[in-house]
């Protein structure tokens, strides 16, 4: 009933093409931003920032990057974690080797470095598609991690390739507390999510989706496949690279190459599958599902067992947690194979028509 667009007339194409054409959506987004920027920093504890909110935002950004490549441009990739590693190590080295470089410039350069590496490993996409391409991007995953371990230059000759991120200083202010780091990450993620949304709603995004849906027709229309695919690899890797830099600088503080494992790439891929491939919102929903649900179950299950007076040991509870997590993934994929974002969209469409079914 509240979610109605009746009476909201569009009198120009500009009004029709704005970011959120429906007034309620605009209000909703403003509320989310207000909560994220004002309410959460006021109330959340340090644990919330450093264990939940910061990793959630960073993985949302990485999932967003992969979503651009896989969800929008249709190029399957299993190398997201490796591109994050490139970003983390590049940001570290820019800070280390260039005197007085601002940290945000380092992050941007880290993204660009990852973009360059992404283009390189995106080249096979010009000849192969689908699962075969996914296997080819595995090469990136293994090669980059091996490279960072093998050549001590990347980690400034530290043992086993571990790097410790430098301090984050912007305009003379040090971002040391989890709250400050959260605000920094949140700002970057919000800006980059907006940029991604703008790209996918313009002809850049339409070219990606055209290549995804039918590449022969796309070419006949005048879309050149090679630049379009490589641009998707570059932009996607840029996002993953910045996410990697934030992962090292704002989340863990010190990282090693093996931390950016294939397992992490898979998790990012699961995020976009569960959240919704080809949806910006889906990247956030997927990251929330994959990261936050286990934490929630961790807290909720022992309490429920306690309430019901069931004599479960800790081990049993953790097994139940894994079972439940897997079951929920299957449940959501059966209910809506296109992900949580589609579920959200269907819900909105229903609300617009309520109380009528059609």
């Amino acid at each position: 009933m509240i979610y109605r667009e009746a009476g909201q007339f569009k009198t120009s194409y500009a009004a029709d093409q704005q970011l959120f054409p429906i007034r309620q959506d605009r209000i909703g987004v403003l509320i989310v931003l207000a909560v994220a920027f004002l309410a959460i920093p006021a109330v959340a504890s340090e644990y919330w920032f450093s264990a939940i909110l910061i990793p959630f935002l960073i993985f949302s950004l990485a999932a967003l990057g992969l979503n651009i490549l896989t969800g929008y441009a249709g190029q399957l990739s299993l190398g997201s974690a490796a591109f994050m590693a490139v970003g983390a190590y590049a940001a570290y080295n820019f800070q280390l080797r260039i005197e007085g470089i601002p940290i945000l410039v380092s992050f941007a350069c880290a993204g660009l470095t990852a973009a360059g590496v992404g283009i390189l490993f995106g080249l096979p996409s010009l000849w192969i598609k689908g699962f075969y391409l996914a296997v080819a991007t595995l090469a990136a995953q293994f090669f980059i991690v091996w490279c960072l371990t093998k050549f001590p230059w990347f980690s400034n000759h530290s043992s086993s390739g571990v790097i410790s991120a430098q301090k984050i200083v912007i305009f003379g202010h040090e971002f040391a507390s989890p709250r400050e780091k959260y605000l920094l990450v949140l700002t970057l993620v919000a800006v980059m999510a907006l940029a991604a949304k703008n790209m996918v709603r313009s002809s850049t995004g339409r070219a990606w989706m055209a290549v995804r849906d039918m590449d022969v027709a796309a070419e006949v229309i005048g879309i050149r496949l090679m630049p379009t695919k490589l641009l998707a690899f570059a932009v996607s890797s840029f996002y993953c690279g910045v996410a990697g830099a934030l992962y090292a600088f704002c989340y863990l503080g010190s990282v090693e190459p093996d931390g950016f494992s294939l397992d992490m790439s898979f998790r990012i891929l699961f995020m976009i599958i569960i959240g919704g491939a080809g949806s910006i919102l889906g990247s956030f929903l997927g990251a929330a599902f994959i990261l936050l649900l286990p934490i929630f179950l961790d807290i909720a299950l022992p309490r429920m067992a306690g309430l019901l007076g069931l004599p479960f040991s800790n081990a049993t509870v953790s097994h139940i947690q894994i079972l439940l997590f897997g079951t929920l993934i299957m449940f959501f994929l059966i209910v809506e194979p296109h992900g949580l974002a589609r579920l959200w969209q269907i819900g909105k469409e229903k609300l617009r028509l309520w109380p009528f079914p059609h």
Binding site: Q17, S202, E219, V235
Partner: protein, 260 residues
């Protein structure tokens, strides 16, 4: 008909196309004049679609010369055809299934959009301006094809006839000077066919677009086309006005078979 048929804009001379040992097209020559509706007919497997693919650069013939707008064509990629003003539709609908009707038709104008991805990301002046200008053009196409009500619908959900119409819209959005239609009426009922005929004639009449058309419905072909070329087993067996072609004994043999 009062329309003016102009000079030859596409001249195909002695085209031969082989896939390994299979001869798809053998020594075919014909021309297309500006503003005309040129039909290509023939039994299944005659090489009609291959012919269209040669015209818009998807296939490269081993022999023969293609002269488009007075210039001999060198080796080309399909996207060059688009920038030269050749648009086409496909026999099996080749729409972008995950995108809305509006977005599908907007992609038709992609070669005319110049803003880079950085401008798009920042939604700066030129990117925003282009989106609006081209939206206006696209809305004209939508009005022309009478598909306003499905603007926002993902094309995958549309019935077959409408999908065909959207595909025509995507080709028209490029404002092509030559339009290649591969069986635009296949699988349609009589009413949909009538609509499609009307759109094709209107495009030809209002925009002066040259149309090369493959179609199996002989009634339609004979009614709307100015000249017809007939292929059979990759060879040309007839070429001329619809009435001449209809009475050509070779064509009758190819279509009806010979009595023994």
């Amino acid at each position: 008909m009062s329309k003016k048929i102009g000079d030859v804009i596409l001249d195909l001379q002695n085209i031969s196309l082989r896939f390994g040992g299979v001869k798809a097209l053998t020594d075919i020559s014909f021309d297309v004049r500006e503003h005309e509706i040129r039909a290509i007919i023939g039994p299944n497997g005659a090489g009609k679609s291959s012919m269209l693919n040669v015209i818009n650069g998807v296939y490269h013939p081993q022999e023969g010369v293609i002269i488009f707008r007075g210039r001999e064509r060198k080796k080309m990629e399909p996207h060059h055809a688009a920038t030269q003003g050749i648009a086409r539709t496909f026999q099996n609908i080749a729409l972008f299934k995950g995108m809305s009707v509006l977005d599908n038709i907007m992609t038709g104008r992609i070669t005319r959009m110049k803003a880079s991805f950085v401008e798009h990301a920042l939604w700066l002046g030129r990117a925003r301006r282009e989106e609006l200008e081209h939206r206006k053009k696209v809305e004209e196409v939508i009005d022309f094809l009478e598909i306003q009500h499905i603007r926002r619908t993902p094309v995958g959900r549309l019935p077959y006839g409408l999908q065909k119409r959207v595909e025509l819209g995507r080709a028209l959005a490029a404002e092509p000077s030559m339009l290649l239609l591969d069986e635009p009426m296949a699988g349609m009922n009589v009413e949909e066919k009538q609509d499609m005929c009307r759109f094709i004639l209107d495009v030809n009449d209002q925009f002066g677009t040259t149309i090369v058309l493959i179609e199996h419905d002989m009634g339609v072909v004979m009614d709307i086309s100015d000249r017809v070329v007939v292929l059979d087993y990759g060879k040309k067996i007839g070429d001329g006005l619809p009435d001449d072609v209809k009475n050509n004994p070779d064509v009758i043999t190819a279509y009806l078979g010979v009595s023994h």
